[in-house]
Amino acid sequence: MVRLEAEELRPAEELERFIAGLGGDGAVVSFVGLARPTDAAGEAVTGLFLDAYPGMTETSLEAIAAGAFGKFGISAVHIVHRCGAIAPGAPIVFAAAAASHRRAAFEAADYLMDRLKTDAAFWKREERLDGATWIEPSDADRADRARWSR
């Protein structure tokens, strides 16, 4: 259901495997997040480093997946999140949800990503030519997360 991936993330393979494991669902929604080539100020990012706490990070991903099960009428969830060094443009996260009908799958995928952006146990360092910065969730990320608490 969830996996922390230290090597390359291949979204097409993840989607194929996820679909192959389903039984009788009518809808799958998947999302792929890519490492952006620029930071919030528009400066070029030369790489990302995602530090994970082995065990705790997987538990946080499982809690997010469980949250989606509790909130939407879905039958399956698949989350794969990268850790370690990630090149600009490379896939960083794959999140998918399956349900009998599309609405629940769309909403669950949206929810998974909003929670992953704030609640996943990662520490992210953006590397630029002039140095590196450890970053925290933005106000926009927090506002997106808060949509699901109302």
Binding site: Y53, D119, A121, F122, K124, W134, E136, D141
Partner: protein
């Protein structure tokens, strides 16, 4: 005991710190104060302690055999 550090703490201080825990253990607050003498970054309020991979309050008791970590605020994914 080995204390694990993550994110910017792991980068600036090192991934692991060694600390001689009193035989009866101590509170997170006492452990933090002892470690912060040498590593000031650990004194920051935003830095949280984890016992066996769960974020705990300052009053929590650290005992031998537990997995202890200090973590900066989460970045999210």
């Amino acid at each position: 005991m080995t204390i694990l550090l993550f994110g910017r703490l792991g980068e600036t201080i090192g991934r692991e710190l060694e600390y001689e825990l009193p035989p009866g253990g101590c509170t997170v607050a006492a452990l933090r104060a002892a470690l912060a003498k040498e590593h000031e970054a650990l004194a920051a309020e935003s830095v949280r302690a984890c016992i066996d991979q769960e974020i705990v309050p300052e009053s929590a008791r650290v005992l031998p055999g537990q997995e202890i970590a200090f973590v900066p605020p989460l970045s999210g994914g």
